[in-house]
Symmetry: C2
Subunit: 136 residues, 2 copies
C-alpha cells in the first residue's frame, strides 16, 4: 500500500492517511479482507511516529472501514464501507449546504452553481485519467 503524505500540508498527517485509505477502499484498490501494513511498518515507510498511524487506523476502525486485532494486524472490514443511501446522502448534505451558502453570497444562481459543478467535474475526470496513466 503506497501512501503519500506531506508535512507541509496544513491537513494533519493522520487525516491524510484516513483520506487516502478511504479512497483506496472506495476505488476497490483495497478490498474487504485485504491487510493494511502494521502500524510500525507504515510509520517507518512514511517516516512518522507509529502513534500517528495508530490514530488513523483507530479512526478508520470507528468508521467501520478497518478492523484491528492485537497480534494479527489490521484488515479492511468485510462489510467495507457499504453505507446505505441515507447515510451517504447525509454525509454529502453538509458540504453541499456550505457550498450553496458561499455561492449565494458570491451572487451565483443555482443554475450557475450547477454549471460550475459540471465544469469542475469534467476537469477533475481529465486529471484523474492522467494520474491513472502515471500510476502504471
Amino acid at each position: 500500500m503506497r501512501l503519500h503524505i506531506s508535512t507541509k500540508d496544513p491537513v494533519p498527517i493522520y487525516q491524510q492517511i484516513i483520506t487516502q485509505v478511504k479512497h483506496l477502499v472506495a476505488s476497490q484498490r483495497l478490498r474487504p479482507g485485504d491487510e493494511v501494513p502494521p502500524i510500525r511498518v507504515l510509520a517507518e515507510q512514511l517516516l512518522i511516529n507509529p502513534n500517528t498511524v495508530a490514530r488513523a487506523y483507530r479512526e478508520l476502525e470507528s468508521a467501520g472501514i478497518l478492523t484491528s486485532k492485537k497480534g494479527s494486524g489490521t484488515k479492511v472490514s468485510l462489510k467495507g464501507n457499504t453505507l446505505g443511501l441515507k447515510e451517504r446522502l447525509k454525509e454529502l448534505s453538509a458540504p453541499v449546504d456550505s457550498l450553496l451558502v458561499q455561492a449565494h453570497q458570491l451572487g451565483f444562481t443555482i443554475e450557475e452553481v450547477i454549471e460550475i459543478v459540471r465544469e469542475r467535474n469534467s476537469l477533475f475526470r481529465a486529471l484523474q485519467k492522467e494520474k491513472d496513466q502515471s500510476d502504471k
Copy 2:
C-alpha cells in the same frame, strides 16, 4: 448593526463577525458608505476583546469589503464586494472540487450530485424565507 456571536460555536469569534458582515453586505442590509460600529463599541456590545473585532475588520478590509481610517472609523467600501466573475469563479472552485472528490468517494455520479444540490437548494430557500419572516 446587530451581530450574534456564540462562544460555544467552534467557529472563532472573529470569523463569525466576518461571515455576518459579509452576509449583511451581500444582502444589502449594509450598503457601500455605511458605517460599521467602532471597534471598541462593537467589542463592548459583544462582550469580547476589541482586538478580536479589530482582526475581523482588518480581514474584511483585506477582502475589500470594509475601509478603515484612523480617527474616522470604518465604512463599507464603495466598490462593495463587487468581485469580477473570474475572482468569484475562482473562489468557488476549491469548495466545488472538494465536494466532487467526496461525492465520488461516496459513489455518487455527477448527475446524482447535481440532483442533491438542487434538493438542498430548495430546502435552503425555504428555510431562508422562514427566517426573513421572523426577522421582522
